[in-house]
């Protein structure tokens, strides 16, 4: 069955790149490099490795010009590459990193046990706490929450990236969000 072609400005740019327009690749890089780097930063919490993997993501995009087929949204394809690279990195035995867990059924988030923050927490402290608790989340929860809540991907797209169902994405996002809400001291946790 022929793959469905979807309307997508980024797909258009990628096709232009495939057709020999080198500036189209630069445009794609400008549009997406920041978001990919930010995603990998949060997934790995290791700036040097995140940068290395962001570079690898775009090397793969660059090399795909000889075989690219627009079978999904560009963002889905891009985040799938980034997620797979991050996952491989996180599972490397020799790696020491704060995100060893890939178990979606991990026990209650540590955030739930943390004391509630004061209401007057400034944005910086709240951000630091959120970042720390985000790093403690199981890998797939972290990825699902970031892609859905920050990058604004629909659940269907996140499901493709994570190779799971929309229902599972809904549950992953929910668990992650509730765990982080608990750490802000504002409630929203599961009871």
């Amino acid at each position: 069955m022929e793959a469905q072609v979807r309307p997508d400005d980024d797909v258009r740019l990628m096709l232009a790149f495939c057709g020999g327009d080198a500036a189209a690749f630069d445009a794609l890089f400008q549009r997406w490099a920041g978001r990919v780097l930010r995603y990998l930063d949060r997934m790995l919490r290791d700036p040097a490795t995140a940068e290395e993997l962001a570079q690898e993501v775009f090397v793969r995009v660059f090399r795909a010009r000889s075989g690219y087929r627009p079978e999904a949204r560009f963002s889905t394809w891009l985040y799938t590459i980034a997620t797979n690279l991050a996952r491989n990195e996180l599972r490397r035995p020799a790696r020491r990193h704060p995100h060893a867990s890939s178990d979606d059924e991990a026990g209650p988030p540590l955030a739930a046990a943390l004391p509630a923050l004061e209401a007057e927490l400034d944005a910086r402290r709240l951000g630091e706490r959120l970042e720390r608790e985000l790093a403690r989340l199981p890998e797939r929860q972290r990825s699902a929450l970031w892609l859905a809540a920050v990058e604004g991907l629909p659940y269907a797209e996140v499901a493709v990236v994570l190779e799971t169902s929309e229902k599972a994405v809904k549950a992953l996002v929910h668990r992650a969000r509730v765990a982080l809400a608990a750490c802000t001291g504002a409630g929203g946790g599961e009871t």
Binding site: V5, R6, A186
Partner: protein, 242 residues
């Protein structure tokens, strides 16, 4: 959203999906109503929203200036062979057509919503016309002792009144195209029906891809009315030539 459920335990997942715009419209509406009644639930939603706001506000570093150069330097053999021009053009054409078809689908949905009341009226008129025709047929049917109407040879018949297909073939601006919901006595197979919906059932080809591409080039498809008229005129023209 069941009223009997406990706010604290059950609705978290729905609240989360609601924040992401992933809740079905009916459920979202029910949840909005419940949020309006329950300050506790509204507070929980605010807590979850605060997480999103906090995540989005996390500092993001700049992309290193040399990263793009490093990416390009990773390709040791220079630029890889690009896709064949034909393959790229084919993919681009499919993309254009996919875009136009998506817009047409939206236009048809829009038209369907906007004209539903008129469609109901058209159906009512059509039903009345059918009843009248049935009564006429019963009255004119040959019964024992009663002669039926005289058969008139086709060559002797009076010219047919203008039908939508003939109207469509006559030179006139698109604005003069007949509205598809208006029942026309001379074209009962079209009257009251949605020709856009009927076209595939009749085995008629949809608008050709190259025609869509031309319309896209002209940027004419922004006008939803025009889309409908183009589509409708094409349908009628094909009816007339078929």
């Amino acid at each position: 959203v069941s009223e009997g459920r406990d706010d604290e335990a059950v609705l978290d997942e729905e609240l989360s999906a609601f924040l992401d715009g992933e809740l079905e419209p009916a459920r979202a509406e029910a949840l909005r109503a419940r949020l309006a009644r329950s300050p506790a639930l509204a507070a929980r939603l605010a807590a979850l929203r605060r997480v999103d706001d906090g995540l989005r506000a996390l500092p993001a570093r700049d992309v290193p200036d040399d990263l793009l150069g490093r990416v390009k330097a990773q390709e040791p053999r220079g630029e890889p062979p690009a896709l064949a021009v034909e393959a790229v053009e084919d993919a681009q054409a499919k993309l254009r057509v996919a875009e136009v078809r998506a817009r047409l689908r939206r236009a048809r949905r829009h038209a369907g919503r906007a004209r539903r009341p008129r469609r109901r009226l058209a159906l009512a008129v059509g039903a009345a016309a059918a009843a009248a025709l049935l009564a006429l047929a019963l009255w004119t049917a040959p019964l024992p002792g009663r002669r039926g109407p005289e058969r008139i040879p086709p060559s002797a018949r009076a010219p047919r009144p203008a039908t939508p297909d003939r109207v469509a073939r006559a030179p006139q601006p698109p604005a003069a195209a007949p509205r598809r919901q208006e029942p026309g006595p001379a074209a009962p197979e079209v009257a009251g029906a949605d020709p856009l919906a009927a076209a595939p059932e009749l085995g008629l080809p949809e608008i050709a891809d190259d025609e869509l591409a031309v319309a896209l080039e002209l940027d004419a498809l922004e006008d939803l009315e025009l889309i409908e008229r183009l589509d409708f005129l094409q349908f009628l023209a094909r009816q007339g030539s078929g």
